[in-house]
Amino acid sequence: MHDLLEAFRLVAAPDVLVAILASAIYGLVVGSLPGLSATMATALLVPVTFWLSPIAAIATIITASAMAIFSGDIPGCLLRIPGTPASAAYTDEAYAMTRKGQAEMALGAGLWFSAIGGIVGTLSLVLMAPLLAEMALSFSTYEYFWLAFLGLMCATLVARSSPIKAIASMLLGLLISCIGMENPAGTPRFTFGLTDLLGGIEPIPALVGVFAVSEVMRAMVTAEPPKLPKRKFGSILANQWMLTKKYQWPMWRGNIIGIIIGVLPGAGADMAAWVSYAMSKRFSKEPEKFGTGHPEGLVEAGASNNASLASGWVPSLLFGIPGDTITAIAIGVLYMKGLNPGPTLFTERASSMYALYIIFIIANIIMIPLGIMMIRAASVILRAPRAGVMPVIILLCAVGSYATGNNLFAVVLVGLFGMLGFVMEKNGYPVAALVLGIVMGSMVEQSFITSLIKSDGDVMPFFERPVSAVLAALTFSALLWPVGVWIWNRIRHPRLPAGGATG
């Protein structure tokens, strides 16, 4: 009890409160600018944290990353340019809603359910951290392999167009993830002698390229879409209560899936968003509406990715094991400030722990008013002339991708991926699946190879271990789903007219 009161006192310190507010605005702004990303935002905070007190320092990281993951939805919805790989899972859906004139419902859903997901995730952190940690530790490389594979298969479940093209995009992404020497063998692959490729292709330049740059390229060859009628941007929260009641079950499913996936180190918000969106479509009563501008997927995936963010702190705080790049940075800051992850954080520094929990909750609560202001500010974009917005986007793409590693090669990559994304989209290959492949590729290979090394080449453990078996079954059903549907169609309609198909 004394620790809890001490924690409130720690958080109420003026420098901490200012840090929270400032980093919230920073995270919101950076996350919502196309070309910049949440990872970049967090990495660029590290020098700033150096000068701050420990609680203030970690507060900036927590707040900025939580805000940026939400605000990555904003450019995705308004411009079809997702701010983070997590938002890429449902960008098309959100954009379709904007075109139907329902932008505020889409963004409101993103905001509301992100906040709920974040709070539920934090509660899981507070109440169930040790339990979740046990679960995380029992996941070995065999389980990770199936989980990663399952995540990849979600690309097929959500494809609006041909699932074969979705799989092809995903395989292309996997191939791209093979580039470099960051593989279990430590052997440089497909680097063509370029030093810059030794480290492989980072997902962020690829994401920025295939979404943002290719969108600008599309703008070069299409007419400006008709402006939405100049009406007041409606209340953002108006419909959210209705949505909450209607989609209660998907929301909770999203929260739970997000918590579970987030707890597993290596599987983060990106995967959570994808898996949840796919599950939403799979279990929905109205699956045909997905892709036309339907909020159900946004509810589940929006809750999931913020929940996974919060629960991702469990392995970080308990064992210093990062869940993704952002938590890796956060762990570095924790160490730098003397808040070493591990049990001592819970026993000797309990008041600091509670302070962190309080900051999580504050961050998710202030997300709502600040998010509303950010959305209103961003909606101005909808009325700005495209010829003014797009050039700034190009500039941000260049600087944003340069900023994290101070490497101009990243800008070259953005340009190349822009061209790739443009060609792919024109021919019906979903680029979101490409990004998914790039993000997940190393996890799949790493877990596969290390599992084989540990089992001395035996593949049986992949199927014998209980959790592995369950995940394997889920994965195969996801893989065979489109094939099954195709066969089903052929059986039901044995004679198809040449070149056409009935559904």
């Binding site: 590290v46 070995s140 030794l198 064992f319 101070n406 490497n407």
Partner: protein, 325 residues
Amino acid sequence: MMTLPRRTLLGSAAGLIAAPALAQPKWPNRPVQMLCPWAAGGGTDAVARILAALLEKDLGQPFNVVNRTGGSGVVGHTAIAQAAPDGYTIGTITSEICMLHWQGLTELTYRNYTPLGLMNSDAPGIQVNASAPYQDVKSLADAIKASAPGKLKASGTGQGGIWHLALAGWLNAMGLKADHVRWVPTNGAAPAMQDLVAGGLDFTTCSVPEARAMLDAGRARSLAVMAPARIGAFPNIPTLKEAMGVDYAVGAIRVVAAPAGLPADLVAAIAPALKRAYDTKEYQDFMNSRGFGLVYGDAAGAEKALAAADLSLGNAMKAAGLAKA
């Protein structure tokens, strides 16, 4: 006042005229860039940042840490080597520079740099699961010797990474083949420790600070460190020499360096500043709180450490079949 002899007057007049030409602006007179080849938030980044802050306080000019990542460290190390040797671009180089050229990934070696100060050396530890039967490193070593080649599994970093080489060197020192224990590559120490605790590995050879959280949680036990002396922050862990008489030690070192060809007067300005930074309470506290090894070497000492690392890591790589050069 006595009249000064004319010679002295002339001499001093000449000195006064010559002085402005000789007196260059004292280094540093504008901000200095400190390049770090590794990502923000990592260990090398943290050391670079604290050194930059201490140097800034000492010398009065901003020292900006710039992360130049990419190519598994090659990009940053190349940037440091290719900068102008004017004292305004320095960087933190790491043991990787002694490994990359053996793999044929770059032409750079430690000779492309002017070492200024060895600031840190982390030794690998040997960690086992808390429920493992080995209470000391000797019993683990006996188990290794008794096991069939490739039966036991160890990890700590990626294939060919420094902890892998540490294991290879240790096995060699015990008279075993470098691959007697199968190495399971991981993306760093954290996943390795996780797998150790989950029961997937027999032991890890990552550094003790990297394993610390698991050690504190009572999930893992550190049996020894491959260092010449016990680590200050972990005084209960014996060295390999103490525990089993095998005199094998290796370390992941971090050296502040400038491009090769730095003029001697600049070396004479920077190197002592680094020593002063090392001696400050803030640096010592910081390193101790993280458990990083507090090892110092001046410019000459740093060069010796790099040369020794180049040799021993090269040998370990050849033994493990990883060297191309």
